[in-house]
Structure formats: structure tokens, C-alpha cells
Symmetry: C2
């Protein structure tokens, strides 16, 4: 089972590593972290440095394709013809094409979500409409062979669902135990639709602070007001 995960500068690490940790336990899994060029890839925080060992010429097919999201960089990737063409090409060969968080926007930019229900991080989700997709605020959405997941940590739930689809319930349960995924957060504020407004406001402020590094891109994409 060949699993290709797109990586790019500005990626949110957990978007990729959550699903990877689950999918790598599929029978005969081979995971390829693939970048436009074989080079060092820096995460959105600047604190993580990944070596991309495979580029778009090395990996042209996959059983599973995963497009992770990012704080801001997705806006740039959405306009990168070479990346979008690679996604379209690999998608032709997949059993499942998947995305996490704002990775769904990148997937939408390829045209592959046209007419489909899809989800993304709670902040940029409405932008899916610009590409003909129908945004739904769910943990993950399965349409045909495409599965989109909500923000960051949602990729773990999506990947366990995917294992269940591919390898059955017993395997999915065993992998859940392997990664001891018995979540027990001390608070209950992870769902945008039920979260209190003051927490949403605080999270939005943090997003803006994170975005300050490249504000022009962020504003262009999300049409935010200028941060004071």
C-alpha cells in the first residue's frame, strides 16, 4: 500500500503526522513524503525541518494521497500550477485522495472537489465555495474516493476511518490501541459550532498573530481586517 503525503514550506506538522502515524500501520505500508523539490522543508512555526527525499518526478502514483494544511502557506500552494498538476496526476491512480485542514483548499484548487461536500479547518472552510465545493462542518467528509478532514487533529480520526474502510474494523481497532488513542482533553472547546464566542475570538487573535509573518498572503486569502 503506497501512501503519498505532500509536504511544502509552511506546513502544519500535525496535519501530516497524525494521519501518517495511523496509515503507516496498514499492511505493507510504504509512506512517501513528497515535495516539489528534494530539499529541506520548514514547518509553519519554523521549528521543524524535514528532509524531502522524494519529488514530484519520483512519485507519480499512490494508493492513498494525503494533502496536509498549513497556517498560511496553503494560499501560495493553491496558486502553484506544478503542485496542482501533480495532485491531479496522482489522484488518477489513487484508491483514496484525502486532505486535512486547509489542505482541503489546496485540493479544492485542483477542481477535484467541484460539486462535492467537503470540510476544512473552521477558519477558511467557507472559501471552499469559491471552488464549487459544498462546505460542511463535520469531523471528516467522505464523497466517492475523496475524504476531507477538519482542522489539524481531525486527520487522526479521518485516518482511522480510512483504515477501517481499507483493512476492516479489527485492524482499525488494533491501530487505535497501538497509538493509545483514547482522547481525554481536559476541556471541551475543540468544536467551532459549540465553542463559546470569547474562546473563538481568542483563537482568531492567535491565528492573526501566527499570520503576521506573512500578512499580505493571509489577508488576501481570508480577507481579514488589518491587525493593529
Amino acid at each position: 500500500m503506497k501512501i503519498a503525503i505532500l509536504i511544502y514550506n509552511g506546513i502544519t506538522m500535525l496535519d501530516a503526522i497524525g494521519p501518517y502515524e495511523v496509515l503507516t500501520q496498514l499492511p505493507n505500508a510504504e509512506v512517501f513524503f513528497v515535495a516539489k523539490n528534494k530539499e529541506e522543508i520548514k514547518s509553519d512555526t519554523g521549528f521543524v525541518h524535514l528532509n524531502a527525499k522524494y519529488d514530484f518526478d519520483d512519485v507519480v502514483e499512490a494508493d492513498i494521497l494525503l494533502i496536509p494544511g498549513s497556517s498560511i502557506a496553503f494560499v501560495k500552494v493553491m496558486k502553484d500550477k506544478k503542485t496542482l498538476d501533480w495532485i491531479r496526476k496522482v489522484n488518477k491512480t489513487t484508491q483514496f485522495t484525502t486532505s486535512v485542514c486547509s489542505g482541503s483548499l489546496i485540493l479544492a484548487a485542483t477542481g477535484l472537489l467541484k460539486g462535492l461536500k467537503a470540510t476544512s479547518h473552521w477558519k477558511p472552510i467557507d472559501l471552499l465555495k469559491n471552488f464549487g465545493a459544498i462546505p460542511v462542518r463535520e469531523r471528516f467528509v467522505h464523497e466517492g474516493k475523496i475524504i476531507t478532514a477538519a482542522g489539524v487533529s481531525a486527520g487522526i480520526d479521518m485516518a482511522l476511518y480510512l483504515v477501517n474502510e481499507i483493512a476492516g474494523e479489527q485492524r482499525a481497532k488494533a491501530i487505535q490501541l497501538l497509538i493509545e488513542y483514547d482522547p481525554n482533553p481536559i476541556h471541551d472547546s475543540g468544536n467551532y459550532t459549540t465553542c463559546k464566542p470569547d474562546i473563538i475570538e481568542k483563537a482568531e487573535r492567535q491565528l492573526s498573530r501566527n499570520a503576521k509573518k506573512d500578512l499580505s498572503l493571509f489577508e488576501a486569502a481570508l480577507n481579514l481586517k488589518k491587525i493593529k
Copy 2:
């Protein structure tokens, strides 16, 4: 706030990246992935390649120290004097010293868990006794300034608790929303104490398969029966 995360060959990526994604949202967070040597670090699956930009001489103090676990490599790290000495040295400067999964065994090997309750992944947890710690099967355990977490994904819950301790409830809730941590696994098999025996057996078989790469180490450490 200076956060040091130990990385080493054979590391389980989600052990490190789960907490990292949470802790990096602390005010003025600076995260340092620190290895024994400045070199490329390969994950336990062999599929992820991290560049270590900092070594033990570069980072000698931290507000938070995190020791992630691994499938098998922890056994080797537990015997590595240079790594244990570095952990002891940094621990003298921390507000919190933390571990995830079998990272708790590495922490135990430094002597820092002596007489303390602690947790780890459900498989190697009883080995904590060999180092004078008291194993408890909980999501995470806070004793003094030390917090140990259960397997792999438990680091996310532990990190949100830690943010709550350091920066308060509002910040913890906002970060939970930022990473959209509203976990909703399709099955309920992530807890060892309530998991059905056939799933535990399947997970144990998978652990053995994962360990085949370096069986001698694994057997020596966990005293497993020979795999046929």
C-alpha cells in the same frame, strides 16, 4: 518560553509532534528539537527524516523539556550516558519535565522518576518499576514538576493540560480550538484497560512485526517470547 524536545533515531513522530503542535502556541514559545548530534534523524518507520539543528551543547536549559518515545529505540537511548546526562542537566533548569509513551522509560532511566507515580505506553509500562517508579495506567500523571503521558496520542492531552497549568484555562481552550481537537474516533478501542482481548492480541502482533527490524533489542527489553 523555551521548549526543548529530544529527538533520536527511531523516534515515534506523533509522540513529539502532538505536544509540539500544542506547546508551540504558548506565548513567545521557542521550540528546539535537540539531538545528540546535529544530523539527520530517522523515525521508527524509516519514512520521516528530520534535520536536528541543535545538539546537547547548544541547548542546556529549557522551561519545558519533552522526551518522546519510540517503538524500540528507547531501549538503546536508556543506556546512552550522554543522553541521560543531558536530560538530568536540562531538568535542573525546567519548570516542567515531561515524557510521552516509552519516553517515560528514558526519563525513568535517568533516575528522575524514582518514588514517583508515572505512566507510559500500555506495553512497556511495567518496566517503570525497574527504575523505582510506580506505574499507573492513566492518560497522564503529574507529580511535582514531572508529567508523564501514556502512549503516542496521549501527548496531545498532556500538552493541553500543561498549557492550562502555565497559561490558564482560556489559552488552553483557544489552543484546543485552533487545532480543532474535538476527537471523535469511529471505534472505542484506545484504552488498554477496557479493550477486548482479541484487539490487544492483534495490536501485540503488530508491535512484534514493527519490532522485527531489531528484535534482539526488543526482546531484551520487553522479554517477549520469540516471534515465529
